[in-house]
């Protein structure tokens, strides 16, 4: 069986950054397995700008951002295989992959980095009633058709969901000559970034209707109209509030789901809130030597954070391969919890002995909070209390933990992140 020190599943932004960081940590035999025909992942179809402000202090398009990393992968001569589908991962880190050229191959990996990204929630999962004609797309599929294949799905568009891809596609479809009639959002707030609402909807006079959902889809062969209605506090449509929009296209941008079918088949423990693996401070999953980063771990808002997180997974995997890792059994492990408006944390546990001097803990909130505080508790003691003018589910938040602070508390079991009024 062929073997590699590190096998990275996925050649999108997470996989690329993880590979480069593992190489910089001194690992020679690295292999990236990518199912698509080129490296870069979903960034290749994100031809709008706004990527890389944090990483490169400039605004890049998705392909440009990806290219910065692809260039480094090429320079570092990191091996990658395209059009290669990983079929299986075993708990003892045997990766089974398949391609046209090589058929089914098994690869023994010293460490595995999961970087498979996420997929969009389909219409069926939303239980939207009505017909099932042509003309209904998840926003990302439409984005691929328009930006990669060069075809326009339709001319009159309704969008359900105000996730970032939906917002971006509202602008793209408008620029391509289509009329976007309305963006309906089930929640009383948008799931996307504030800047995308301003730049993609407001700038083009596209109405955003919060607390609205699709209650009917008409058209037997092709979409002919979509009816939306306002919803009450239980997200149930309110009779009498229906508005019918004649249209030929319905785009759905109703959430992303980390693609963890391979992970869970291998026995990786998943967090039901994020649908991503439960990881420790080194982004290692419940299976030793299997790491996760990027949208397969939790859905990110900005790719810059994906790259940062993936670099960490790369370093951790390198340490694992070089067996520099602190023995977990002997370490002081603290559990991280999210309550009172905070929905989850990544990572879920911290081994105080193994952690670096500073640890970034990322999380999201469950609803909109204004003039609130992000608080960090060591057991019942409040350690951090940061004022935030606004906290929204569409944006990722973070707190930073200091190793020396944790070391001062040898009996510490639980760190809790809470959103507080003051």
């Amino acid at each position: 069986m062929i073997s590699y020190d590190i096998v990275i599943i996925g050649g999108g932004p997470a996989g690329l950054a993880a590979a480069i960081s593992a190489r910089k940590s001194g690992i020679e035999k690295i292999l990236i397995l990518e199912r698509d025909r080129e490296l870069g992942g979903i960034l290749n179809q994100c031809i709008h700008n706004g990527f890389g402000l944090h990483t490169f202090k400039e605004e890049l398009t998705g392909p440009e951002y990806a290219y910065r990393f692809i260039e480094q992968v090429e320079e570092e001569q990191i091996e990658y295989r395209l059009n290669t589908m990983v079929m299986d991962i075993s708990p003892d880190r045997i990766v089974t992959a398949m391609s046209r050229e090589e058929g089914v191959v098994q690869i023994q990996a010293g460490a595995i980095i999961l970087a498979m990204g996420c997929r969009e929630r389909p219409r069926g999962a939303l239980n939207i009633p009505g017909y099932r004609p042509a003309g209904i797309f998840s926003a990302g599929t439409a984005q691929r058709l328009v930006n990669i294949e060069g075809y326009l799905p339709g001319r009159e568009v309704v969008i359900l969901g105000s996730g970032d891809i939906g917002l971006i596609m509202a602008r793209r479809m408008t620029l391509e000559g289509a009329k976007v009639k309305v963006v309906a959002e089930l929640m009383p707030y948008s799931g996307g970034l504030k800047r995308n609402i301003v730049q993609c909807l407001n700038d083009f006079d596209i109405p955003l209707k919060l607390s609205h959902t699709v209650v009917d889809i008409e058209g037997k062969e092709h979409v002919t109209a979509v009816t939306i209605a306002q919803v009450d506090e239980h997200n149930k449509p309110i009779p009498g509030t229906e508005e019918r929009y004649p249209c030929d296209t319905l785009l759905l941008s109703c959430g992303l789901i980390p693609e963890n079918e391979l992970s869970s088949k291998a026995g990786v423990k998943l967090n039901p809130v994020t649908s991503g693996p439960v990881v420790n401070e080194g982004l290692e999953t419940s299976i030793p030597g299997v790491f996760a980063c990027g949208n397969v771990l939790h859905v990110h808002d900005l790719v810059d954070y994906v790259s940062e997180e993936a670099a960490k997974a790369g370093t951790s995997a390198a340490r694992f391969v070089k067996q520099e890792k602190t023995d977990v059994s002997s370490g002081h492990v603290v559990e991280l919890k999210a309550t009172d408006g905070a929905r989850y944390t990544v990572p879920c546990t911290v081994n105080v002995d193994a952690m670096e001097d500073l640890l970034t803990v990322r999380f999201r909130v469950g609803s909109v909070f204004k003039n609130s505080y992000v608080s960090v508790y060591f057991e019942d003691e409040r350690i951090q209390h940061l004022k935030k003018r606004i906290l929204a589910p569409g944006e990722m938040e973070q707190v930073i933990l200091q190793k020396k602070k944790l070391q001062e508390k040898p009996d510490l079991n639980t760190i809790t992140i809470r959103i507080e009024a003051e």
């Binding site: 199912r35 059009n83 589908m85 079929m87 398949m98 391609s99 046209r100 050229e101 090589e102 058929g103 089914v104 098994q106 997929r119 969009e120 389909p122 219409r123 069926g124 999962a125 239980n127 009633p129 009505g130 017909y131 099932r132 004609p133 042509a134 998840s138 990302g140 599929t141 691929r144 058709l145 328009v146 990669i148 294949e149 060069g150 075809y151 326009l152 799905p153 339709g154 001319r155 391509e176 000559g177 209650v215 009917d216 889809i217 037997k220 062969e221 092709h222 449509p237 030929d248 079918e261």
Partner: protein, 483 residues
């Protein structure tokens, strides 16, 4: 001029076509849609019923039990998946326990084998996720699960192999019988003539029947909404779980599918529109609430799609099979609602033997009952799979990630006789797009394959024929590069 024209390429029409193809006759099938399996056949519970439900002595009972018996051989001949997973009719009301005995006795009278009444404990042992309210159950080991698309497609392909012509996008608009007893069928695609006509037009069978007969029949489309759950949830139950029908009405079933998903449904709502396959919010919420009556902890968050199908309910609630009294040589297969899928092979056999008698048909010397299915590489060992990929590299390229479907399988689906011509055609043949992302990732790639195989422009590729195109036109400047 044909000896026999069969109207409709659903499971009934295709089963009749296959059985008739045994005989020396000139046969064709006229289908209104662009593919086989486009009506009632494509949206149902996908169950091969044991046969205890229909009233003793009815055609429904006879055809169901016979159809069930025929299914193993048929599945083997047609190389299609079929599993006898057994069914439980669950009683959750002590007052209604007697009803299980009634069903049991009816099943015995119908000739159903292996029926057994289970106590609460026996039922729970067999199926731990049954509702805590379970009082007893009727166990029917011969009940099975099948893929209705593949059954339909395979029967049609086999009929085609044996010489039956198929014409798609050919809706019969009028039927007239001339003085020589020849039927003239006017379609959107010109006129077809035949000495015999088999009416297997599903929800439209009444309209065609009423064109030739003064004894009118009336078919009401009875809509059933369904939810399909992710394969993650596919082992929540292993048997098909029915709710015992009571005075309070019929419940919904919960069953694994032969491909490993979980299906929940159907509702039963009589409508007027014969194309009214839209789901409704009430329908779906009824399903979700009723499903919990027999099975607990159903993971309804795992729903990947919901859909609705129409049962062709005739007022008499009985299959109408045979020659129409005042229209000689016009054979009805009407009112084929549940258990129509289970009964279709028996209906095919019955109608074919009836026509054999009437027409004096001779058996063909070389009739081939076997059809080779689309190769599923997942059934191969790694060595076999590698040998396949070496000779046919397209089998090494996964197109549908969720269901792990390779380009090779999709090309086979398009290239084979009566091959796929649309995204749904591909989906029903090889399941590309049937998984948890519901074609989000694979549809652009399947479109490309259809485009290159069929030589159609991308704008002409459809979801399911007609006006269901996926893309409208090229984007501005997409041809750039040719400056």
């Amino acid at each position: 001029m044909y000896d026999v024209i069969i109207i409709g390429a659903g499971v009934t029409g295709s089963a009749v076509a296959r059985e008739l193809s045994k005989y020396d006759a000139n046969i064709c099938v006229l289908e209104a849609c662009e593919d086989v399996c486009e009506g009632t056949s494509k949206a149902n519970s996908a169950i091969i019923h044991a046969g205890f439900d229909a009233k003793e002595g009815t055609l429904m009972a006879k055809m169901n039990v016979r159809g069930n018996q025929m299914m193993d051989q048929l599945a083997e001949d047609l190389d299609i998946p079929f599993k006898r997973n057994g069914a439980l009719v669950v009683c959750t009301d002590r007052e209604e326990l007697e009803g299980l005995t009634t069903l049991y006795e009816r099943g015995i009278a119908n000739g159903v084998e292996g029926l057994r009444i289970l106590t609460r404990d026996e039922a729970l042992e067999m199926e731990p996720n049954l509702s805590d309210q379970v009082e007893g159950a009727l166990y029917a080991p011969t009940s099975g699960i099948i893929c209705p698309f593949i059954l339909n497609i395979a029967m049609a392909e086999n009929a085609f192999q044996n010489g039956v012509d198929f014409f798609f996008n050919t809706r019969v608009e009028d039927i007239r019988c001339d003085e020589n007893g020849i039927y003239h069928l006017r379609t959107g695609n010109g006129e077809y003539q035949a000495r015999y006509v088999v009416n297997a037009a599903g929800v439209y069978a009444d309209e065609l029947h009423n064109l030739v007969s003064s004894h009118k029949i009336s078919i009401t489309p009875r809509r059933g909404d369904y939810c399909l759950l992710d394969k993650d949830a596919g082992s929540h139950v292993s048997h098909t779980i029915f709710s015992q029908p009571t005075k309070k009405g019929k419940g919904v079933l919960v069953s694994p599918t032969v491909h490993g998903n979980l299906i929940v449904g159907p509702t039963a709502i009589d409508i007027e529109d014969k194309e009214g396959v839209n789901t409704t919010a009430e329908g779906i919420s009824t399903l979700i609430s009723k499903a919990g009556n027999t099975v607990k902890n159903l993971p309804m968050r795992k729903v990947i799609t919901s859909f609705a199908g129409l049962r062709a309910h005739e007022d008499g609630h009985e299959f109408i099979l045979g020659e129409v009294e005042d229209a000689p040589h016009f054979i009805d297969c009407a009112g084929i609602e549940s258990p129509g899928l289970s009964s279709c092979p028996a209906i095919g056999e019955y109608i074919a033997s009836l026509l054999k008698e009437k027409m004096g048909l001779e058996e063909k010397e070389h009739w081939n009952p076997k059809r080779k299915g689309i190769l599923n590489p997942e059934t191969l060992s790694i060595e076999e799979r590698n040998a396949l990929i070496q000779s046919e590299p397209a089998y090494g390229q996964i197109v549908c990630r969720c269901e792990s479907i390779s380009e090779g399988e999709i090309l086979d689906a398009i290239r084979r006789p009566l091959g796929a011509r649309s995204l749904d055609g591909v989906k029903r043949r090889v399941r590309a797009g049937m998984g948890r992302c519901q074609a989000g990732f694979c549809s652009p790639k399947v479109m490309e394959l259809l485009h290159s195989e069929l030589g159609l422009p991308l704008e002409a590729i459809t979801k399911s024929g007609g006006n269901s195109h996926i893309v409208l036109e090229r984007t501005k400047g997409a041809d750039g590069g040719n400056l």
